[in-house]
Symmetry: C2
Amino acid sequence: MKNYMNLKKVNKIIYRTHNCGELRKKDLGKEVILSGWIQKIRNLGSLFFIDIRDYFGITQLIISKKQVKKNFLLGKEFLIKVKGKVVERLSKNYNIPTGEIEILVSYINLINSSLSPPFTIEDKTDGNEEMRMIYRYLDIRRNPIKNNLIIRHNLVLEIRNFFSKNGFLEIETPILINDTPEGARSFIVPSRTHINKFYALAQSPQLFKQLLMIGGIDKYFQIIKCFRDEDSRSNRQIEFTQIDCEMSFVEVHDILIFFEHFIKHIFQKIKNIQLDPFPCISYSNAIKMYGTDSPDIRFGMDFVELNDLVQRKDINVLKTQELVIGIKVKECKNLQQNKMDCFLKKIENKNFFWIKYLYDQTFLFSNSIFLNEEIIKIFVKYFEAIPGDLLFFSYGKKRKTREELGKIRVKIADILNLKDSKTFTPLWIKDFPLLEWDKILKKYKSVHHPFTSPKEEDLHLLEKKPKNVRTKSYDLIINGIEIGSGSIRIHNKNIQNLIFKHLGFSKKEIESRFGFFIKAFEYGVPPHGGIAFGLDRLINLLERDQNIKNFIAFPKNNYGKDLMINAPSFLEKEKLKELHFR
Amino acid sequence: MKNYMNLKKVNKIIYRTHNCGELRKKDLGKEVILSGWIQKIRNLGSLFFIDIRDYFGITQLIISKKQVKKNFLLGKEFLIKVKGKVVERLSKNYNIPTGEIEILVSYINLINSSLSPPFTIEDKTDGNEEMRMIYRYLDIRRNPIKNNLIIRHNLVLEIRNFFSKNGFLEIETPILINDTPEGARSFIVPSRTHINKFYALAQSPQLFKQLLMIGGIDKYFQIIKCFRDEDSRSNRQIEFTQIDCEMSFVEVHDILIFFEHFIKHIFQKIKNIQLDPFPCISYSNAIKMYGTDSPDIRFGMDFVELNDLVQRKDINVLKTQELVIGIKVKECKNLQQNKMDCFLKKIENKNFFWIKYLYDQTFLFSNSIFLNEEIIKIFVKYFEAIPGDLLFFSYGKKRKTREELGKIRVKIADILNLKDSKTFTPLWIKDFPLLEWDKILKKYKSVHHPFTSPKEEDLHLLEKKPKNVRTKSYDLIINGIEIGSGSIRIHNKNIQNLIFKHLGFSKKEIESRFGFFIKAFEYGVPPHGGIAFGLDRLINLLERDQNIKNFIAFPKNNYGKDLMINAPSFLEKEKLKELHFR
């Protein structure tokens, strides 16, 4: 075996004996080799103090001027390798773990020089988002971005281990599939070998995870990239990551219980936060109580319906409205008086009015024709308002009135700083309607997606009054943000076909788009359901950050462009020809 | 909070109290609910014995004829829910974990009926590959495929936890990137919003993982889908999964040591197999010893070079050859005599000859003009052959002679069953050449890829004799299959540019294709290197299976078609227009 090599005898380059974050007082006197990027240089005349940085931390070097002169000029982000002895620092820096020692350098070697970086590589940088995206590799050297990637790694690993321990299999589903209508547009991939044919990039593994259930897999999950060809939308990525789950032989109840456990586990493990039990309300009640299907319930202010009151008290203008609703803002301090006054002024003369119960027991109120002392007292009494409270009212058509008071409710919480960033308040919304009317296309579309099961008690409406049918669907909302969405799926062929029909698909279209899926329904489909969570959103929420890009190593901008590599880009003509483009 | 629901009070459908794999003797007397697919029905006149199957196993039911008649007809793959009592079986089946009990059914409910499946849903099926792919969801119900998906899940989870424990971060890199030349063709994705521009699907995260190292990440890994638009090739998938790794501040030595540890860990954990230390040879020695860069070393038969011998012994024809090599097949039993004779006949009259040392001390040999008793004895003596041994020789031009004897070596191992399927013999091949000449395109191409670092000792050849330069590259071969491939990357701008030049890229092309990458080289690139393993191949090897599709939930066929969903497919004209196709 003379030709075989013994790896242990190979002479090799050693870049480091330790990293830049690990040396401590206990290492005093050791001869070490470190490699790292220059973070800071202080010139003290005969000496240089240089901080070098790597993934693990920062270590201070002392280098005599002679040493450096002999070699070369140094600057920020130059990558150097040094040999030296660990010595105790005179002026210790207790802010960093290596702050009690420094390296007395005996040898210094430049691995690579650097241009002056286009923005400062510090926790707070002077780089704007565009520059940070173009030079993302430099942005990643900054602690905030690096730490976000570490947190994301830990979160994802924890999720995988959690699901695995709970009997879920992670199964890869294909990315290159066919175009199926799932609400958004798919990216299209021309086939070179199958002329005039196209793949589409999967928007989600929806049909495949259902086919896995049909295939007898009991519990499935996958953390997977999904692709949607969306027009520019801030804080959305055209490729994003989903935590996708599906279970067989379950009902809504089982899913909500299990995934409440999941979310609690994640908050406990990652943030050491104990979440309270998740409340659960129906879609229609969410609309009635908050004017939205993704309510932020950190700050109360549920809607109060006042139609009975205004009828009973015979209040003009209001008594003839389809809906009158109000909210009470408790002990509304004067801290944000200016902002609030501004806001109150802005919403006057629309279908709103407000009453402010002042501490001197008098009232301020909006300029509405029907408001007078007597009527104000009716509302104040009804709401049991006390001095300091603020009452808001909205009236008109049901849907619009609720939606608009919903927006006002959130706006007030912003103005008064009622959104406690340390509180996480999850909420399940369930029983969404099956269909909504698309005014532009003049046809029904699915509220969730075409595979969502109607509720048993509404099945009798499915044929004739599909608009009134509610579904076995649920969203998980935390602090007003939709974190997860799912449903129990249809496992009955006839119901599935009827819904396709309601959605306006012809028999031919059903066959060409979903033929394989309908065929699978002939072979004993089990009851099943699932949920998908947006990983990018979940981590944003956990870390209380606003910008989704901060947790993605190489994000695209809001227009789907990768500014670093300048994608998408033009193609060579030959390549286009190969793909049968003209 | 009158509108909030208490989940615990919801009336719900219960599909099962237990699964079909968990009931045992200790459960006798329990009233249970089970759901599952009918695997088998035996009609005993007044009674039916029915086996129902789910993900977890099989349970036998006893149903009285009356019970069934009242309800409906049953058949294979019908999905039923039953209530009943756990009773002890009279004739126990010790082959399955539930074989000591059965369920005396009191209530039976049909959840979904089924057509007769197109192939038997048993461990051994009568379905051909095409049918199994079209009805993949039924194929997945079979234990062999289901178990493969479980094994894959466990393997992938083990890999992720291993890397995480060793300080690697899993970081997602983008799929939608630009087309860069990486050896294979990329799939192209037209942009709808950026007219005439295109994304390409990433063939690998190569540049991005290098940019992560430039970004100061110390150790990276990712288990990621990669995409290559290849012409039909058996056992290749157009979308496949890679275990992708990269480390900073390392040399070849560090990588080989660490990833030997990784592979050993996986074999230990998943297969309980303790691998021997991995030998390591250079590319050029692999070619000299085995005629291939992916040798199977389970069965010896290293090449012996005979040029000196044939010169010294003045053997006609052979003494003028560029290369003469031979191998000895030890104690070649007569078991496969027919096959072997057939093979020997087939290779006669080419640049081969063979000598068979019979047990009666005589020789059989191929019909070559220069072979005679005297010459045969020279070779037999040189090889220290004994009766039963078989000698093979090849001669001619170096490269071709080696390649062809390499193929014969493998073929003989096949014929004589020398490839022990229980043995795993890993081997590192290193020091591949930098470049190879592409005869068709008439230019150099990279043997690994354009980012592979030359060896220090060959750097002086880079400018003038690039063809002679060897690189810091390595492949991991197990049982003749390439499982992993990687290299130390270039971290010097000038070397990177020089190699781009050798590959025939103009300055403009370098700028347009790799501009962002070259730019990153201005900011202190660290020494770094990595490796990528084919997950599909690794699991195939671990499970000693030949067909990669058996470990992929929804594979494509050898022509890149998904037979189940019939992708790729034609697109609607509107969609084409939207993408600016004409």
